[in-house]
């Protein structure tokens, strides 16, 4: 007689084995997804962390009046635009010995950023008393020097493949030995607009552009979204029109974001002639894009408000609008705000539609209002990612870190609101 019990138990072992394996497949899938997330974050942080520092070179500058302001005009404009190159060169050759011929002079001058002389100009213009005196000043180093100081240039590879030559490195070592070169917190990154030179480029302009776009987006999408949700949930009768609006909202939620950009381009720019490349148009486009998200979230919140609240208000003689706006909407507000913040967080990261309406231009100035030309943080990331200069790689990563920090803050804000203010019925 065959041993059935043994047979079945072998079969059971097989079946349980299969279950174990199946569970592991699930765990591995989750592990891979999260591992990718961690890999991506660490790759970006690893590349971007160094961008929060910048290299500066200390020079004892002799602000000779004869060179800077020979006419003694003391006009801030003249002081700003004066030729500071000779002063800087003089001070550099004091520190670094053996610089005599023209080629060397030009090379050593390139250790400094092209923006260093503008910096000097600003300083003198704001404080003309400096003229004729000598002062030690920290000046911005060039991107190549900056990368070298951060250990991102390998001095062992052939000199022909580097933009920073052996001579430059020798000079940097001289500066280093005298403590005249150091890394400080990168204020340029957070305080300046875009620039063609990596060491002079900052994200402030883009961040403010993003802020203005989101402001416009919020002012349009929040009231419209909530009113639509209230109408559809509280007032609309079930008819063809209501169904049509609902279908529209669901479809809009699925339209690729780039199509909204085309809408902005052909309707708002070409038809209504709104100013191109501005946060105004960007905000409108983002608002139309986030509107479905806000409506759908707000509706589900409204649906969760118990009917008894409405019945009580109506029973005490409140009208339909009074019931809705005095009782239902205030109760639903935290939830609706949460939905709106999440929608805005998505809008903050959106790039493609902004490319279509020209917010992709190279803009140095920091926007002062919604009708100034501007770009936005994600678009700035896209622009820098496209730049060939090596110095932009770390800045792109740093800009991504800043963007992600903003996104995380917005999401935490939403979570906090939900936890603190939302009521469970």
């Amino acid at each position: 007689m065959p041993n059935y019990i043994l047979n079945t138990s072998r079969q059971m072992a097989k079946r349980h084995g299969r279950e174990k394996r199946f569970k592991w497949y699930g765990r591995i899938a989750i592990f891979i997804s999260i591992a990718f997330l961690i890999f991506m974050f660490s790759a970006i942080v690893f590349r971007g962390a160094s961008a929060f520092q910048q290299t500066k070179i200390s020079l004892d500058i002799n602000f000779s009046e004869a060179i800077i302001d020979p006419t003694s005009s003391r006009d801030p404009e003249i002081l700003k635009r004066a030729n500071y190159k000779p002063v800087v060169l003089e001070s550099l050759s004091n520190v670094i010995p053996g610089i005599t011929d023209r080629r060397d002079r030009n090379r050593v001058y390139k250790l400094l950023s092209a923006g260093a002389v503008f910096d000097l100009g600003e300083q003198v213009a704001s404080n003309p008393k400096l003229l004729g005196k000598s002062k030690s000043v920290w000046l911005l180093a060039s991107s190549e020097v900056d990368l070298f100081m951060k250990g991102k240039i390998d001095s062992n590879i052939s000199e022909d493949l580097r933009r920073l030559k052996d001579k430059d490195i020798e000079w940097i070592e001289i500066l280093k030995s005298q403590g005249k070169i150091k890394k400080t917190f990168n204020t340029t990154l957070f305080g300046k607009g875009d620039s063609r030179e990596p060491e002079m480029a900052g994200i402030l302009g883009a961040a403010i552009g993003s802020f203005f776009s989101l402001l416009v987006c919020f002012l349009i999408a929040f009231p419209l979204g909530i009113l639509t949700a209230v109408y559809l949930e509280e007032f609309a009768k079930k008819n063809f029109l209501t169904d049509f609006i609902e279908v529209n909202i669901n479809n809009l939620a699925a339209v690729p974001s780039i199509v909204f950009g085309l809408l902005g381009l052909s309707i708002f720019l070409n038809f209504f002639n709104l100013p191109r490349s501005t946060p105004l148009v960007g905000g409108i486009v983002l608002a139309l894009m986030t509107l479905p998200t806000i409506i759908i979230a707000s509706r589900s919140i409204l649906r969760s408000i118990p009917q008894s609240i409405r019945d009580a208000a109506l029973g005490l003689g409140a009208s339909k609008t009074q019931t809705t706006f005095h009782h239902v909407v205030p109760l639903a507000m935290p939830g609706m705000l949460t939905g709106t913040i999440l929608g805005m967080a998505r809008a903050l990261g959106e790039t493609a539609p902004l490319l279509m309406i020209g917010m992709v231009a190279f803009i140095v100035d920091i926007p002062k209002g919604v009708t100034d030309v501007a770009t936005s943080l994600p678009v700035q990331i896209f622009l820098w990612a496209d730049s060939p200069e090596k110095g932009f790689v770390e800045r792109t990563s740093a800009a991504i870190i800043v963007l992600l920090v903003f996104l995380i803050l917005m999401n935490l804000c939403a979570v906090y609101l939900r936890k603190r203010l939302e009521r469970r019925w």
Partner: protein, 318 residues
């Protein structure tokens, strides 16, 4: 004769009625914005696309195998009109979407099944937000990562085994896009699996099936329509995705199914056609609107089918 208070009440009542009507009017007006947006999108795309089809016949756009939209500087130049066949763009888009789905489908589905059926509540609470984080990352970040990290790795691996892989290969863009799609598939499938009635599971357990057998032979088959719906939604997102492909895929419209070659997509072409400085009437710029119309029809079609399937499925177990 009416009392003064009665008059006052009547007037107040009418004022209130008018106020109610005005408020309701505002509500209706704001809900019409959604309709206006749809009309705006369709009208602008259709209008510009028609102007494009004036210059390039529809049949050529749909069936021509070549895409090279450069316009001539001189009228008598060779190939002055440019070639506007959407097929290479479509194959490029589908190739990248296919690679993305190859990554996202197993990872997304297995995670969803594990989280919905096997994981403890604690694990679920910890893992779900992490997966959703993947959906919250801006696509420009994925694009940067694909172009800067993933593409060089793939290229280096390729040359390590003596295989020449383009630095703008469909593979890099597809892989990273696949990761972006994981949360879309996992969270939708999770909902769908949770919607399968407990009675089905209990019956299966009662017959002596193991948990794995219950999941693969009862729960998943019952949830299949919903899962298919979630996959279709993910595909529609992959087709409309812009930034990852703009940054990591190429510009050359190669008609190929080789994932190691550079391909271009519809969204990439829209961006390249419209971000330069050019006059608004050329066939080149108008072509972007024709592609966008095509893209819209494709994604909306997929979406409507997907929602239909999901809704039908939801009704079945409601």
């Amino acid at each position: 004769m009416s009392l003064p208070t009665e008059n006052w009440l009547r007037r107040k009542n009418r004022r209130n009625q008018i106020k109610e009507l005005v408020i309701q009017g505002v509500l209706i007006a704001s809900s019409f914005v959604a309709i206006l947006t749809t009309i705006g999108i369709v009208a602008s795309l259709v209008f510009e696309a028609f102007r494009f089809f004036d210059k390039i016949p529809l049949m050529e756009f749909l069936f021509s195998l070549e895409w090279s939209p450069q316009t001539a500087i001189r009228a008598d130049q060779v190939g002055a009109s440019g070639k506007f066949g959407v097929i290479p763009l479509l194959t490029g888009t589908l190739l990248i979407s296919f690679i993305a789905m190859l990554v996202a489908t197993p990872l997304g589905l297995l995670s969803a099944i594990y989280l919905a059926e096997f994981a403890k509540a604690k694990t679920r609470d910890a893992v779900k937000p992490l997966l959703e984080l993947l959906a919250g990352i801006p696509t420009v970040v994925y694009g940067f990562f694909a172009a800067l990290v993933v593409a060089p790795i793939i290229r280096a691996t390729g040359s390590g085994v003596g295989f020449d892989i383009s630095s703008e290969s469909a593979l890099a863009a597809g892989l990273v896009m696949g990761v972006m799609l994981i949360p879309f598939i996992s969270s939708l499938s999770d909902d769908v699996i949770n919607a399968v009635p407990q009675a089905l599971r209990d019956a299966s357990f009662g017959m002596g099936a193991t948990h794995e057998e219950t999941v693969t032979k009862v729960v998943v088959p019952a949830a299949t329509p919903g899962i298919i719906g979630s996959l279709l939604l993910a595909i529609s997102r992959a087709i409309g995705e812009t930034m990852i492909v703009v940054m990591a895929a190429g510009l050359a419209a190669n008609l190929t199914l080789n994932p190691f070659e550079a391909v271009t997509t519809m969204t990439v072409q829209i961006v390249t056609l419209l971000t330069g400085d050019q006059e608004f009437d050329s066939a080149k710029t108008l072509a972007a609107f024709a592609i966008a119309l095509f893209l819209l029809v494709l994604t909306l079609g997929l979406n409507i089918i997907a929602l239909h399937i999901v809704n039908k499925y939801k009704k079945k177990y409601a």
